[in-house]
């Protein structure tokens, strides 16, 4: 963190940055539920705002979804609904998928629900993305 110029010692709020395991972040009860997930994301944003911060950014690893965690089949649904969430709650979310863990069709489905993607090192609008009506 120091190499990145992030000096936690001088952070105004001790909880401005938190780290958690992927399971704790996505499936705190051992099960993945999109409603709970979205509620936690919303709450996190509101906490940040209440603390006087400009917003919140969240990055998560999704490898757990390839391990048969109950509810994992709803991850694409959740990804899709995040697009609606960020309209009301301008939170920045980056989801990381290890291509070695998911099959090609699954990767397309995931890609399909993200409005923005990084291709060849460039951030572009996803041409496959179609906002649900």
């Amino acid at each position: 963190m120091a190499d990145l110029g992030i000096d936690r010692a001088t952070a105004d709020l001790p909880q401005q940055m938190t780290l958690a395991t992927a399971m704790a972040g996505y499936c705190p009860g051992g099960r993945f539920d999109p409603d709970d997930m979205l509620a936690r994301l919303r709450a996190r944003y509101l906490q940040a705002r209440a603390a006087g911060l400009a917003g919140a950014r969240i990055a998560g690893e999704t490898g757990w979804a390839a391990r048969g965690v109950p509810g994992a089949e709803r991850i694409v649904e959740c990804e899709s609904r995040i697009n609606d969430l960020v309209v009301q709650t301008p939170i920045t979310i980056m989801c990381q998928y290890d291509l070695r863990l998911f099959d090609g069709a699954m990767m397309f489905e995931v890609m399909n629900v993200h409005p923005v993607m990084i291709v060849g090192g460039h951030i572009i609008r996803n041409p496959f993305y179609q906002r649900s009506a």
Partner: protein, 608 residues
């Protein structure tokens, strides 16, 4: 939707182009061919005009549905393998793109087209996608093959290096070791001898070089065969190695010749003990072909630095000595400097005889009574070892104790004397002589043995002697050698209830300060001072000082070697507690001591 117009006038959609671009870029990110196929198929279904898609990559993709299977078969059969050229087939309802690179085909991209005009503008881009897949697959397979070859090369190199190292080790070993016995060869022997000489020079010690030649060995080979000869040599090597220490070297330098380097010797006599042991070991019968075979050997020895300082010279001189042993009749030992032969030979013989004397009861214990000057009665006696030698007669301790101490026989000898003395003292009690004590000498080497406390405990138990009737005498020099260990040991011995005396006091350069903390009951003034107390004021002064020192610390004082009434009077006058010596009685055998203890002493102090 943004669009562009290709050359043929059809419209291109930016969105579709964007999708095709994303597909092309994403292919490289897919980790394997199965994922490539699945992703591309799914992504292509999002393009207009494509009803279904199938990406076949040989060996990596699942079977298609039935209609795509038909299309795939058609593509596969009708579009031949050819170098370069346009192999694409776009026939209205289907589009087939080979997945290939550099003339190698990996599979097919097969599309079921439901709107050919809409798809038409993008056919070239679709061809790019199949080409990209082909290039990526070719590149990855090439990289994988390269990694395989590198790994094979690495393994081959490692194997080769290991074989070279092993071969080098084998060659080194063969150069430095005898293949039959595993002993050092002459090359290694000279190297080790050189190192031993260097170490001895630094530490002011000696090195023994021993040349051992088996006597009738050629005779054995011709009689019993070479296989037996080899077995004998291996057994001989094993025996020689078992006798030497870790820092010594045993080498085979000829068919029946061995050289032994004895490093770090502190005396020539020490080498004599080894020579005797080596000689005896070779003579022990060896079982060969069901027979007990006895082979003797001739041994020659020389010593660094007395006989030379260079390895080659020492080896030559040891060999010369060995030849002298051969000429003298074989089965013998000779030193290079013949003046050493007689003394060392005699010593070796004595040691051999002493080794046999201990278990066969040739050792006898004599007793010299000690007079208590206060009561003018004999308080007990000192036990002294004697050797009833079958040929030489009664040998005093000075003739054999040094040999025993050099060879560790002293431990067994000391235990014998302790046992006999305790039995004798018990007899005194049983005979109504009261609590007479017996004093037993403990050698320095016995003090270094951890078992001495248990030995004494066992002897007291076996003989039933009361501990307070046993007095152990340790020399001043033996305890000063290792103060901490000696102190610990003496405390343990005192804990058994016996008493401790410091023998030969005044000769050991002891620290009086250290002695203050030792659990001693008595100091024995060395006879050399007693001998001169009437004639040399210095001897008298030392004697008085010792008495005063002992009294101050609450210890009793014994004077040994008292031979004249004048000496006895002096000692009594100045507070000595106990005396012994020829003035009172010579050491006598066990069957005479009881009578002596009952008698009034031969010397009586005059009334003062």
């Amino acid at each position: 939707m943004a669009s562009a117009t290709p050359d043929d006038g059809s419209a291109l959609s930016a969105t579709v182009l964007g999708r095709l671009l994303v597909i092309q870029q994403a292919i490289d990110a897919m980790p394997d061919e199965a994922r490539i196929a699945a992703f591309v198929r799914r992504a292509l279904l999002a393009l207009p005009g494509i009803a279904d898609a199938y990406v076949h990559l040989d060996g990596h993709t699942q079977a298609p549905n039935r209609r795509m299977a038909v299309l795939y078969e058609h593509c596969r059969r009708t579009l031949p393998m050819a170098a370069g050229g346009d192999l694409q087939d776009h026939a209205g309802s289907r589009a087939c793109f080979p997945v290939e690179s550099s003339g190698q085909r990996f599979g097919w991209l097969v599309l079921l087209v439901d709107d050919a005009p809409t798809l038409q503008p993008y056919l070239a881009f679709l061809a790019n996608i199949s080409g990209t897949i082909g290039r990526i697959i070719a590149s990855r397979r090439y990289q994988a093959r390269l990694a395989e070859l590198n790994e094979e090369l690495r393994e081959m190199r490692d194997t080769l290096e290991e074989r070279v190292a092993e071969r080098t080790r084998e060659l080194d070993y063969r150069t430095t070791h005898d293949p039959l016995t595993g002993l050092a060869s002459r090359v290694l022997l000279v190297d080790r001898l050189r190192s031993a000489i260097a170490a001895a020079r630094r530490e002011n010690l000696m090195v023994g070089v021993v040349y051992l030649d088996l006597d009738p060995f050629k005779f054995m080979n011709s009689g019993l065969g070479n296989a037996c000869g080899d077995l004998f040599l291996r057994e001989t090597a094993r025996r020689l190695c078992a006798l030497v220490r870790a820092g010594d070297t045993v080498a085979r330098v000829g068919s029946d010749e061995f050289v032994i380097v004895l490093a770090g010797l502190d005396s020539v006599e020490r080498s004599g003990a080894y020579l005797s042991a080596l000689h005896a070991a070779v003579r022990e019968p060896v079982k060969l072909a069901g027979k007990d075979v006895v082979v003797t050997c001739s041994i020659g020895a020389c010593v660094y630095p007395l006989d030379g300082e260079e390895p080659e010279l020492l080896l030559r001189r040891a060999g010369t000595a060995m030849h002298r042993a051969k000429i003298a009749g074989k089965d013998s030992i000779r030193f290079y400097a013949s003046t050493r032969d007689a003394a060392v030979t005699e010593r070796m013989e004595l040691e051999t005889e002493l080794r046999q004397a201990i278990p066969t009861g040739e050792l006898a214990v004599y007793y010299q009574p000690k007079l208590d000057l206060a009561s003018n009665t004999f308080g007990g006696a000192e036990a002294l070892a004697r050797w009833v030698h079958p040929k030489r007669g009664l040998l005093p301790p000075g003739d054999f104790i040094p040999v025993a101490e050099d060879s560790a026989l002293i431990v067994a000898l000391g235990e014998q004397v302790l046992l006999q003395a305790c039995r004798q003292a018990r007899c005194w009690k049983d005979a109504g002589l009261g609590q007479k004590s017996v004093a037993v000498n403990i050698a320095a080497r016995q003090l270094r043995e951890d078992g001495i406390v248990d030995t004494v405990k066992q002897v007291l138990r076996d003989t039933g002697l009361a501990p307070e009737c046993l007095e152990l005498e340790v020399t001043e020099s033996s305890i000063m050698h290792d103060l901490d260990h000696a102190s610990d040991l003496l405390y343990q011995l005192k804990g058994l209830g016996l008493s401790i005396s410091i023998d030969d006091f005044g000769t050991g350069y002891s620290s009086l300060s250290a002695l203050r903390n030792f659990p001693c009951d008595k100091l024995k003034i060395d006879r050399s001072f007693i001998h001169e107390i009437e004639t040399a004021s210095s001897a008298a002064a030392v004697t008085l000082a010792v008495i005063s020192f002992a009294k101050t610390l609450g210890m009793r004082v014994n004077a040994e070697g008292v031979e004249t009434p004048g000496q006895a009077h002096f000692l009594k006058k100045h507070g000595c507690d106990e005396i012994q010596g020829f003035l009172l009685a010579e050491p006598v055998p066990a069957d005479q001591i009881q009578a002596l203890l009952r008698q009034a002493p031969a010397w009586q102090p005059a009334a003062q």
